[in-house]
């Protein structure tokens, strides 16, 4: 009897201990990959994730590449200043972060393609093409921005041409699945353009226009759940901090991004304008000035049709820099002063060009008489249309090195991969200008569009020449 009682007591005790087990319900509330593979709709969420990663990539790329061009100068911020002065070193933490963000986009895309897509019963071919696009886009950015970059973990660094060719392969794969998406055509046109493959670039540009003559593709941000548009902070939202200041001749295009409530400005990563810019550059490379003029005039119409928004920008402060409508600006000492490039932000709302804007008018195009003159105007349009989109840095032929962290943990990295590349004709004081407060005249030190044209045969710039 005693024994039985003891056994019953022991059972009760054991059960009680189970009930009061302190480790009960200590579970990871987060999501594990193994729980996602095979679930219906997982590809859709994965693609949303890729879009989110694109936002993260662009937050990193835009801040740095715009500083590394003549578009913006870093006045007083904790954003990177070395890029502003083109002192881009492999030890720079931001160099590492850009490479990491791009690799993250690529590797996430690969997991999406190889693991998530095949297991999702609801997956569509269009989704497969989308995933292929992100992988290609990562390689495109690697090819455009870096001296060299591996395309797999601790892999051998690939040259820009190799990365761009790999991007082309991915975009072609996407195009093969979904041939009616202008995004893949325009991505191909862009990659071919950078590779100097004029024929293919122009063909894909024309195909893109044919599919959608007003096409745009954006990276969206999420003002409430993040990431929000970091670059908008630098351009607009930090108010009295006034981080990024545009070159005075681009003042009228600023701020391209702003925030109203939780509405974040998107970044346009693809615009049909690019197709026209590529076609026109091809025409000029072929010596077809008249054809280029026609294309450029169509482009002006496309840009004009993009419209503008009105914004109260009184919170922005130019500090000691030129401001007000009486300011005139010339692109260099050799150029003529132009009016209406600098705005007065303290007297009511200003127009902002959220997609594309340009100071070039039809008369400027009509007045062109030389290929080089046309090319300079075309690159000015390119600069203005693409401002704050991270493209100028690439057009100037500047390339970022492989980072220290990659070097320390990847034996394939060589010393040459660790050197940034800045073309010899690109000066470090691209943002410089003089301002005569008496006459309200601004003279920019370097007309970088003229510099590019003068060096158009250099392999790193103006790809079709």
């Amino acid at each position: 009897m005693k024994k039985n009682i003891l056994i019953i007591l022991a059972i009760f005790l054991a059960l009680s201990c189970e009930e009061i087990d302190p480790t009960r319900d200590i579970n990871n509330p987060n999501l594990l990959l193994e729980n996602v593979i095979g679930s219906p709709g997982s590809v859709n969420s994965w693609i949303v994730g890729q879009e989110r990663q694109m936002a993260i990539v662009y937050n990193q790329v835009l801040e740095l590449t715009e500083l590394g061009s003549d578009n913006y100068v870093n006045v007083q911020t904790f954003f990177n200043q070395q890029f502003d002065r083109l002192n881009i070193t492999f030890q720079d933490a931001d160099v590492n972060t850009i490479a990491f963000r791009i690799a993250d986009l690529r590797e996430s895309g690969k997991i999406g393609l190889n693991d998530v897509f095949p297991a999702d019963p609801t997956a569509t071919p269009e989704q497969e093409a989308q995933l292929q696009f992100y992988v290609g886009w990562a390689k495109l950015l690697a090819g455009e921005l870096f001296v060299a970059l591996p395309d797999e973990g601790a892999g051998a660094p690939l040259s820009p041409t190799e990365n761009l060719n790999n991007a082309v392969s991915d975009f072609l794969a996407a195009e093969a699945i979904d041939g009616n998406n202008p995004s893949y055509k325009l991505a191909l046109a862009r990659a071919y353009h950078r590779l100097g493959d004029q024929a293919n670039a122009v063909t894909k540009a024309q195909e893109a226009i044919a599919l959608d003559p007003t096409f745009t593709r954006t990276v969206e941000f999420d003002g409430t759940n993040l990431p929000d548009n970091d670059f908008a902070d630098g351009l607009f939202q930090r108010g009295n901090f006034d981080d990024y200041q545009p070159l005075p001749r681009l003042d009228f295009l600023d701020p391209k991004y702003f925030v109203v409530g939780d509405e974040e400005s998107p970044v346009y990563i693809q615009k049909i304008e690019e197709a026209y810019l590529i076609i026109a550059e091809g025409q000029l490379a072929d010596g077809d000035l008249a054809g280029a003029q026609t294309t450029m005039n169509i482009l002006l119409n496309v840009v004009a049709a993009r419209g503008m928004a009105m914004l109260d920008d009184a919170v922005e402060n130019r500090n000691e820099r030129p401001t007000g409508t009486s300011v005139t600006v010339r692109a260099s000492a050799a150029d003529a002063f132009k009016a209406d490039l600098v705005l007065d932000r303290q007297s009511g709302e200003i127009p902002v060009f959220t997609i594309s804007g340009t100071s070039v008018v039809s008369g400027d195009v009509t007045a062109l008489t030389t290929v080089t003159g046309a090319l300079e105007l075309l690159y000015l349009m390119r600069q203005e249309i693409f401002i704050a989109e991270g493209r100028r840095f690439v057009d100037l032929g500047i390339r970022i090195p492989i980072s220290e962290n990659e070097m320390l943990t990847n034996s394939n990295v060589t010393d040459s991969d660790l050197q940034a590349f800045v073309p010899s004709f690109v000066p470090t004081d691209m943002d410089a200008f003089t301002f005569d407060a008496g006459t309200n005249e601004v003279t920019i030190t370097h007309n970088m569009n003229a510099v590019l044209v003068a060096n158009r045969t250099d392999a790193n710039v103006v790809p079709f020449f």
Binding site: R238, F241, E404
Partner: protein, 956 residues
């Protein structure tokens, strides 16, 4: 029968008559220094066995011979006194603590109460007397300069914010450095960094240390990580702080009342421009009222208290208000069973201003340069401001302060229950169970009006209002059961402890952010959109432990033990963790050849080896996806890759030292040398970026701290009327990351241009940035990129104090110092941007146009040597004046000056870190909660203010 009875009565009367003839009666009352009566004191007539004990009121009466005689008054923990009776019939005695005896029994938590002589490690204790005149607000500030081997820095003068605590160096590159805290055996929330979710108040993060119940402290013991904390296992590498609260004493009911009134004066010592103080500060007012009731009888004692405290701050728009109630009680249930309980409830309410990482920081931007053009100032240089300029800035400050709405509310309930059962003589079983429940709500309401006032948005804006709110609910449950056995066999003593312990922490956080919040509304419902996020973290740690202390002839003690620990945060393939300890001490002064020494009164050598751990953050072991809301959809992205072998980092400490007492312990000296090595150090280090994988917490590195700890206390004068003692500590330390485990160096804080990094061969958190060299003409000749610019940890630090008393007047002074550390003067970088810079940079490079601040980084790293006097208190005991006034038993007054004097080598306050425990580099380290805090970025915040406090205490 009647005859026998009669004879007995006769004998009795006869003897009595004889005694009456030869004896007399003396009586009196026994009190302690504060006038409280002491029951249970033994009073013995010297040379006889005749004696009594004092009653509950401290009264006693004894028959003594008609002439002569000496009475001996004795009580454990108090100095025994011999008093000649003379011809007195009333002898009142005031008994004083026996310093030597008091320090002999040390509470070591799970190791039980141990004689200090048996300890093989150094243990710091602070008792209620040490805190007598210290205005008690929060545990870390209370201990500042009171723990001889621990450095506590106040990162900001903002109420309730995080501080920086460092003991034996920084032993982790991942987790916070604050010790774990036990109140009456119950582990309490000690989060001293920002949480998983935070209201972005610019680095002013609430610390859970700020509301740990401290008002009724009886005793604090600090065990440094290593052998002293081995029994606490995977949770104790940073040391363990044990707080024991008062449980009351048997005797009459005692009621005491304390009022503290004070003036709060923001210090302008650290600002470049006096206008910060002139325009931004005011004299604040402190009002604290406390009531305490205690008493009891032989079976039950109790101590209850209630307190209200309001500090309306030296800055506009800032306040701290606190309500506390609590109590402790002890019940002797039977001869064998004893129960102790305690509870406290704290309601804390902070109103804060925007801090460092805000458009307008705590100095309202004055010290960094306000935008003159936008504000209509004649210049942005405050020292050149006109009266009109000052009016503009004054209005701005008042607008920002009155319109800002940053609040934190904390509700915290802590309780503890302890049962002790004496099984047989020498063997007892103790069980403790208790919980700490802390609920906090941090909230920032930004109205359009506020955003316009602080120039963030254009006038007329109506859509930018928002509420950001974070609710955190934290529940910690602790359970311990242990058996203590003591025995003496021949020359040997045995003190054995065996037991098991668990704690369970559940931390739930939720954040809501609204956009386009309707003006004046304070509910999140009245907004255009709301986003929510949560953070969950739960962990259970459980293990069993055994400890054995073997003594031989009270001279040599051997201390061995271990804990075996399990934890839900360990990787699936990581086994339980075994933590051993071993130590030996030799009390040489117990040897005959020293026993009679007039010079050496105490000499002990000791050495120990011990291990303790830091368990990894919950869930970091798992491979997981990041799933985020993104524009109304669910976004999946690869997250951490996980580690199935994730284990705690293990801190192994080897220490050896000497305790020396000279001249009847008039001079005490403790010298310790230690090496503490963190193996399997947890690093959140990056992979090669080409993997595209986010950082993963891994057991990668090794960190070493070593150094000397020297503490001396000297009783310079010690007689009945006049006492004077002084103490001084000096802690020399070296910190180095011995191994990075093959990972590239990584950042743990700071900015892109100048960060705090972890790199093999260098101290934890060393400053990395460019170091310029200037040519003769002042231009930058060369720049060393990624140079080592300094380290946030000092070469040495220490505390100092003076205690003096003359009759009823007492003086107390404490302070601390450091040297050999550095910090970044971030405010000066901002002044550089705005044309207000000093001349540390040669003129040719001294502007943003002439040189990049990236290249100049090194010039802003400054040495941060300091000596700060933290507390000067003058107290006067009025007992002798009030003892005959009505029901008053005792009274005292005190005047305290906090933070009155400082000497510092840096331009800014070397203690402050504008970002608090914030990791300033978003993206480089995904962890925020309990992340390592190295400090060293001074900007945009204010220092702890000077306070002048008048204290009145009355006892009934």
């Amino acid at each position: 029968m009647n005859k026998i009875l009669l004879i007995c009565l006769m004998l009795l009367f006869g003897f009595t008559a004889e005694s009456i003839a030869q004896e007399r009666t003396v009586s009196g009352q026994i009190t302690d220094e504060s006038g409280e009566s002491i029951p249970g004191v033994n009073i013995v007539l010297k040379g006889t066995s005749v004696g009594v004990t004092s009653d509950i009121e401290g009264n006693w009466k004894l028959s003594v011979p008609s002439e002569g005689g000496i009475l001996i008054f004795s009580y454990i923990g108090l100095t025994a006194q011999e008093v000649e009776i003379g011809n007195r019939s009333i002898i009142n005695v005031t008994m004083r603590p026996d310093v030597q005896q008091l320090t002999e029994v040390v509470i070591t938590g799970l190791g039980g109460a141990v004689d200090r002589s048996k300890l093989t490690t150094t243990v710091n204790t602070v008792n209620s007397d040490d805190l007598k005149y210290t205005p008690i607000v929060r545990i870390d500030q209370l201990l500042q300069s009171k723990l001889p081997n621990t450095q506590i820095l106040q990162s900001s003068g903002a109420p309730g914010t995080t501080g920086v605590i460092r003991g034996r160096g920084i032993n982790s590159a991942l987790t916070g450095q604050q010790p774990v805290v036990y109140v009456d055996g119950v582990r309490v929330d000690n989060l001293n960094t920002q949480g998983g979710l935070n209201v972005a108040t610019g680095g002013a993060q609430s610390s859970s240390l700020a509301d740990i119940p401290v008002d009724q402290i009886d005793d604090i013991t600090f065990l440094k990580g290593g052998a002293a904390t081995t029994l606490y296992g995977s949770d104790a590498a940073n040391g363990v702080l044990l707080i024991t609260t008062k449980k009351g004493e048997a005797g009459r009911t005692r009621i005491s009342y304390e009022a503290q009134l004070g003036a709060i004066n923001g210090t302008g010592d650290y600002f470049v421009f006096d206008e910060v103080k002139e325009l931004g500060f005011r004299t604040g007012f402190l009002n604290s009222q406390a009531l305490n009731i205690s008493g009891g009888n032989d079976a039950i004692t109790y101590n209850f208290f209630a307190k209200y405290r309001d500090d309306n701050s030296f800055q506009f728009g800032q306040e701290e208000r606190r309500y506390t109630i609590g109590g402790g009680y002890n019940a002797t249930i039977s001869k064998k069973l004893n129960y102790q309980g305690s509870f406290s409830y704290i309601s804390n309410n902070y109103t804060r201003l925007p801090n460092a990482n805000s458009s307008f920081d705590r100095t309202f931007g004055i010290d960094q340069g306000l935008p003159a053009g936008q504000l209509g100032l004649s210049t942005n240089k405050p020292s050149d401001w006109t009266a009109e300029d000052k009016d503009i800035v004054s209005k701005l400050i008042r607008d920002v302060a009155s319109l800002s709405d940053i609040t934190t509310q904390i509700r915290r309930f802590t309780n503890s229950h302890k049962f002790s059962y004496d099984v047989i003589e020498g063997l007892s079983i103790n069980a403790i169970i208790g919980l700490d429940f802390r609920n906090s709500r941090a909230q920032e309401i930004q109205t359009n009006e506020y955003l316009v006032a602080q120039l963030s948005v254009a006038p007329g804006t109506t859509t930018e209002g928002s509420i950001e709110r974070v609710d955190r609910s934290f529940l910690s449950t602790t359970g311990t059961i242990s058996a203590n056995w003591t025995a003496k066999v021949g020359d040997f003593t045995f003190n054995t402890v065996a037991g098991a312990q668990f704690f369970r922490n559940v931390d739930d956080q939720q954040e809501v952010i609204t956009t386009n919040q309707a003006e004046t509304s304070t509910t999140i419902n009245i907004s255009a959109d709301q986003s929510v996020e949560d953070f969950q973290s739960s962990v259970v740690n459980y293990g069993y432990f055994v400890s054995e202390n073997i003594g031989w002839k009270d001279k040599v003690f051997l201390d061995i033990g271990f804990r075996n620990d399990f934890n839900t945060a360990f990787g699936d393939d990581a086994s339980s963790k075994f933590y051993p300890k071993a130590g030996i001490s030799y009390n040489i002064s117990e040897e005959d050849f020293l026993n009679s020494s007039n010079i050496i009164s105490n000499l002990k050598v000791r050495g120990s080896f011990g291990r303790a751990g830091n368990f990894p953050p919950p869930y970091t072991r798992d491979a997981q996806l990041n799933a985020n809301a993104f524009n109304g959809q669910l976004a999946f992205q690869p997250g951490q890759v996980g580690s199935s072998v994730l284990a705690p980092e293990e801190l192994t400490t080897i220490e050896g030292g000497v305790d020396l007492g000279l001249l009847s312990d008039r001079i005490n000296l403790e010298v310790t040398y230690y090496t503490s090595t963190t193996k399997n150090a947890l690093f959140s280090a990056p992979f090669a970026p080409s993997f595209g994988s986010e950082n993963q917490v891994r057991n990668l590195g090794e960190i070493e701290n070593k150094g000397w700890e020297i503490y001396t206390r000297v009783n310079i004068i010690d007689n009945n009327d006049l006492k004077l003692s002084a103490n001084l500590s000096w802690n020399k330390q070296e910190n180095v990351v011995v191994s990075g485990g093959g990972a590239p160096e990584f950042s743990v804080g700071g900015f892109t241009f100048l960060g705090s990094f972890i790199k093999e061969g260098l101290p934890v958190g060393y400053f990395r940035g460019s170091q310029p060299t200037f040519a003769e003409d002042g231009s930058i000749a060369s720049v060393e990129e990624n140079a080592v610019l300094g380290k946030p940890t000092p070469d040495a630090f220490g505390s100092l104090g003076i205690n003096a008393s003359w009759r009823d007047l007492s003086l107390f002074v404490s302070g601390d110092y450091q040297y050999g550390a550095a910090a970044v003067n971030t405010d000066e970088v901002l002044r550089f941007f705005r044309g207000l810079q000093d001349d540390r940079i040669p003129e040719a490079s001294n502007s943003p146009a002439a040189a990049s601040f990236f290249d100049l980084a090194g010039v802003w790293v400054e040495d941060t040597d300091f000596l700060k006097v933290r507390n000067i208190t003058l107290g006067y005991d009025l007992r002798s004046l009030v003892s005959n006034i009505g029901i008053l038993r005792n009274a005292s007054i005190a005047f305290t000056a906090l933070n009155p004097i400082n000497f510092h080598s840096s331009v800014f306050d070397p203690e402050i870190t504008g970002s608090g425990s914030n990791n300033l580099l978003p993206g480089t380290n995904t962890r925020t909660q309990n992340a390592v805090t190295t400090g060293g970025f001074g900007f945009g915040t204010v220092s702890a203010p000077r306070m002048y406090i008048f204290t009145l205490r009355l006892g009934l």
